[in-house]
């Protein structure tokens, strides 16, 4: 009995730590989506599909053009940042004054376009980088380097965005425009430019997430479905547009998935996470950090 508990605790600790590591990447995805929603007031339903395009970018640069991972990653971040800016310029900007449902449907349309484009252009084969990172053994616990690296890079990315938003004039304008968009011209701020910069940052975060996820998952045209929905649930649970709420919710979800997976299958972890979400929507419909009315 004693030895059973000892082993059990090790697995528990391993699951908790793996949950934290998973939470880092989920928090990165949630930050990108929250940034777009908080500042521009639109939801990019196709956010995870931007990540999918980024993952294909990594695959082609590394496997086909034989670039080292470290050289390919910045290119992919730049590529998806440009894609985010293009998405805003071509799809969102013309619909800025349209009803929210139209904006939602338009980005939903982009989701199917990107999936179909990927199917036609890249085929439906599962592809990977062919990079297998070693596993770190700590006592009886195992952690993959891919996850540790992803966690560290995701954290660095989030700190970078935080510093940009708090230290620069443009970053301050991004936070200000979310609070009062009408008076921005009085500050000498062109809202169009701020929206474009914000979209590029949102895209860049999707690009960074792509570089990290491609280390752990195979890429295929529908890979966005594996983390798109969970990212939305995280953002809604944290309160759409609430950066800190999204950050906390990402780790709550990651722990539920990881610990749920420990007690049964990984799929049950997801089921638990979604069930938790539904219950929370009854208890705190405006999000974890909402103030009680």
């Amino acid at each position: 009995m004693q030895s059973f508990l000892g082993i059990f605790d090790i697995y528990l600790l391993e699951a908790v730590i793996n949950g934290i590591l998973l939470g880092g990447v989920l928090a990165l995805l949630a930050l990108g989506l929250n940034l777009i929603f908080g500042v521009i007031d639109v939801t990019w339903i196709c956010y995870a599909e931007l990540v999918m395009i980024g993952m294909y970018g990594m695959y082609y640069l590394v496997q086909v053009f034989h670039l080292p991972y470290w050289a390919a990653a910045p290119l992919v971040i730049l590529l998806v940042a440009l894609l985010g800016a293009a998405l805003h310029f071509l799809v969102i900007a013309p619909l800025l004054t349209a009803p929210p449902i139209n904006q939602l449907l338009a980005t939903g349309g982009v989701l199917f376009i990107l999936q179909s484009f990927a199917t036609v252009a890249f085929g439906i084969d599962f592809r990977n980088l062919g990079i297998r990172l070693p596993v770190l053994a700590l006592g009886e616990m195992n952690f993959s380097y891919a996850r540790l690296l992803s966690f560290g890079a995701a954290l660095a990315g989030m700190i970078g965005v935080y510093l940009f938003l708090t230290r620069t004039f443009t970053g301050t304008a991004i936070r200000a425009i979310a609070q009062d968009r009408q008076i921005m011209p009085l500050m000498g701020v062109d809202p169009k430019r701020i929206y474009l910069v914000t979209s590029a940052i949102g895209g860049g975060l999707a690009g960074l997430a792509a570089c990290l996820l491609v280390l752990q998952y195979d890429v295929h045209p529908f890979v966005g479905l594996s983390f798109g929905p969970i990212t939305f649930l995280i953002c809604v649970l944290g309160g759409l547009g609430n950066f800190i709420g999204g950050f906390i919710a990402a780790f709550v979800f990651a722990e539920i998935i990881s610990l749920g997976g420990l007690f049964s299958d990984l799929e049950w972890g997801y089921v638990l996470a979604f069930a938790f979400f539904i219950v929370m929507m009854f208890i705190r419909p405006a999000g974890l950090l909402s103030r009680r009315a």
Binding site: T172, R175, P185, L186, V189
Partner: protein, 237 residues
Amino acid sequence: MTGMLELKSIDAGYGSFQALFDVSLNVRAGEAVGVIGPNGAGKTTLMRVISGLIRPTQGTIAMEGTDVVATPPHRIVSLGIAHVPENRRLFPRLTVADNLKMGAYMPGARAHYAERLEFVFELFPRLKERLQQMAGTMSGGEQQMCAIGRALMSNPKLLLLDEPSAGLAPVVVQQVFELVKRIRASGLTVLIVEQNVQQVLRVVDRAYLLEAGSIRAAGSAAELAASDTIKQAYLGV
């Protein structure tokens, strides 16, 4: 003598609602000019038309000879026009420091950020103590200081003040008008819109009376204060 700011025959409104009818007005460099009138007379619309938040349907606006109507709204502040909007409109969940930073957003002002900040602290020492506080948590008077300070960060030539005394306690209203005097003394030109006629006529050189979207009277502060219509309608004597 031509003015710093010149409005000629301005019509403006919101959709099919017209708020200003054939409004002409000028402000000379170094002057303090008031626009008085009742609620709903179009005073705020007048301010918004000058700073580009809404566009006139008729007429011309010139700032030191530059066509304001042809200037994109976010570039009008670069012409030297800073607008302190009605109800202050601070960014409530940004710190006082970040609010002031937004006032210095345009490239020309960023270069002089530190010295402008010193200037604002000289005028409003209180803001220096409150730098890290969220702007929305300050008292009304402090928020008004912050809103004026934010406008001054852009190093304007002309300051537009829209109802600076609205919603403030009587003692604080007094302080705000004292501030307006100090801002004038620093060499700024001021155009101020107020319902508080008695007070505003004490700090301005000239004033216009705006009623139902049209200029009904204009003159020196002393003339207006002495006019019977204004006495009866606005000064309660």
